[in-house]
Assembly symmetry: none
């Protein structure tokens, strides 16, 4: 069994919600990667009693605890004091920590304020963790079951301290057998449909199956330490087959992938393609998501179908969206001097677009060279949701045209 | 004393660090605003025993607990089961929840998968919280000292449920004495410049001053419960005066404001104006941010200045960006049949745009009727940061043209 690890964050700015606890997320990823099971994150504010009680709880519950925040010079920085009280240790003056802090200020031609002195007080017996970026030293100590490491709350200082001073020592302290995570990233299917399709695949009981639905839906497979590579590949292939071309990327098989745009970027760059886009429902968001890529040369947005028709000289009486989209795609390809053109249209009026209880039907038409690919999606929800989904679905049409042209 | 509130999040994607717990931050902000003291955030994964133990702890420690996640249809969604076990309540079938879920799928012309049925099982005696955006209903119940509300983990669904179903009931359940928060939202000045300007204003010791730098820079003033209204107004006016037209909105004086686009929306809608845009560095993001507004009729993006010149028939030799932008704005106004036109240009090459160590100089030119307003900003950082800042600065030029036209 993996050693159990908890994350503990101190700071009113977290409990009051002024910032999200990104330190906890980063440290957890690091810990999972090397073979810990992260069981809990806890954040508390600046109340000494809360801190003391929490440290005592964790000391009995976890094998390792990574802690951030509360090491600063001000009166609401209580970590060392809380540790001293919780574990019944006196605070002792660390002369080396004090000298390092003096040096930090001297290097910046500043005198160290009196209040910083308290940062040199560490619980007796704790190992000092030097801070190469700021003033607050961290420290580490074992109490009861748990080895605690205390780091600053400033993300850059925390990360540096973790990577330099803590990570290298963890394999010696703990018996680590990292699990292997494989993530299949899909687009175009809901979570429950995916589950139904996957139901046909036998997943060994030692493999954990999970889902995460954000913009894409991710299927996560967690394999135990030293699970045979061929068995991993076989299971991933079986699942990918059930989901067909809805899978746009797979993480954890060696190659690092990214989001949908990263997948498209690879295809477009390899083929040296160029693209022009007309957006409607996604209103610029599709173009915005392609920031940093080389192949999107031109994009435009028009608020209404009437304006679209006017711009591309299409008769007002024309109302077949597929034909209109094909006409526009062809014009874009010529006018913008690109080989790929992507046109997004919907036929509903603006009231429907803005009404969260009504849906719109979005047509995404790709013209790739002389091949067309056409996709139709019904999208509901707030106008913001419609915008995001329309951008994603049209981008996905761009991806799929590489595999499924229909003439 | 304020009632004590805890935040509880369920999900391996949080404990494993795949996402930061932004739900916890958002809910904490909401709770603090209305007069709770938030004492603790806890996140646990998909282990039933951990969930049960935690719910029992919180029931003794807090007056209110806002919970997110674990309400989905899959086997790792354990919240209802954990509540049933922790508080010794049977799960009962909620026919109304079931019907709503059926309707959700029917509205989308889909059959409800079998697996969703489990979402209609709620702990006996719990109050159902309808989910107007997704399938999972939430629920609320009191156990021992604590009133628990369970919401979905999807942020949009969670927020809607909190605002519609939970927030309105809290003042009846708890004795709340909220502090009063006033937020001045500014754009165009850095945090340290703002601090220097504000230094001239005397801030009473019982008023807490804070800053938050995100897209805009916000100055936050926290007044104790029942602080005199005239004293609040006086202090806010004094600070606003120091910051001039960099302040685009003030929250907490009665009227709800929104972001920069909301401020612009008001001005544009009142004047019945219409707008056409040409974007370059912001690549569609400016248009995307205006989603849902009536006045943005047309927007376009071109990757390079050469393409821009080609599109608007401007001589290749022409290189004064101000003159080019004026020419384009005038053309947009005519071609697109709008009274306002906004043109964004930068002169650097693409390598500079993509280099995080180099900066670009972005020109934002507004033509409002026959009045021009011109703003120039130097923007540095990653291409993503340049994109965001360019969108904001050009939008701010649109706002400022209402106050400072220059001919």
């Amino acid at each position: 069994m993996n050693p159990l690890l908890e994350i503990f964050s101190q700071g009113e700015e977290i409990t009051r919600g002024q910032i999200a606890d990104t330190n906890a997320a980063w440290l957890s990823q690091q810990a999972v990667q090397i073979g810990f099971t992260v069981t809990r994150h806890t954040a508390v504010g600046d109340k000494l009693d809360d801190l003391v009680a929490l440290l005592q709880e964790i000391a009995q519950r976890a094998d390792c605890c990574l802690c951030t925040g509360g090491l600063g010079p001000t009166s609401d920085d209580l970590t060392a004091e809380a540790v001293a009280k919780a574990f019944d240790l006196p605070l002792v003056f660390d002369a080396i920590a004090f000298m390092q802090m003096k040096q930090f200020f001297a290097n910046r031609n500043r005198t160290m304020p009196e209040s910083n002195t308290k940062q040199a007080l560490l619980p007796k017996g704790a190992q000092r963790l030097d801070n190469s970026l700021g003033t607050a030293p961290g420290f580490a100590l074992k109490y009861q079951r748990c080895w605690f490491a205390f780091m600053p709350g400033v993300p850059s200082e925390m990360r540096q301290m973790y990577l330099e001073k803590i990570l290298p020592s963890l394999p010696n302290r703990f018996d680590l057998h990292p699990e292997r995570l494989v993530t299949l990233k899909t687009i175009g299917l809901g979570e429950s449909v995916i589950q139904e399709r996957i139901a046909a695949v036998v997943i060994p009981s030692e493999v954990q199956l999970g889902f995460r639905a954000a913009e894409d839906v991710q299927i996560k497979l967690l394999f135990p330490f030293a699970y045979p590579e061929t068995a991993i590949r076989h299971l991933v292939d079986e699942i990918a087959e059930q989901l067909g071309d809805c899978v746009f990327a797979i993480d954890g098989l060696g190659e690092e992938t990214g989001d949908l745009v990263a997948t498209i970027d690879k295809l477009m760059t390899q083929g040296r393609h160029t693209l022009a886009v007309l957006e409607t429902a996604s209103q610029g968001l599709l173009a915005a998501k392609c920031i940093g890529t080389e192949w999107l040369l031109s994009a435009s947005y028009e608020q209404s179908l009437i304006r679209v028709k006017g711009k591309f000289s299409i008769a007002d009486t024309s109302d077949d969206l597929t034909i209109i989209a094909k006409t526009i795609a062809w014009q874009l390809q010529q006018q913008q001097n690109v080989d790929f053109a992507l046109v997004q249209l919907y036929g509903e009026d603006r009231v429907t677009l803005l009404d969260k209880d009504k849906s719109i039907v979005v047509h995404s038409l790709m013209l790739a060279g002389d091949q067309y690919y056409h996709a139709v999606h019904t999208i509901s929800g707030t106008v913001q949701r419609k915008q995001k989904q329309a951008a994603l679905m049209s981008l996905d049409a761009l991806r799929r045209c590489f595999f499924n042209p229909d003439r």
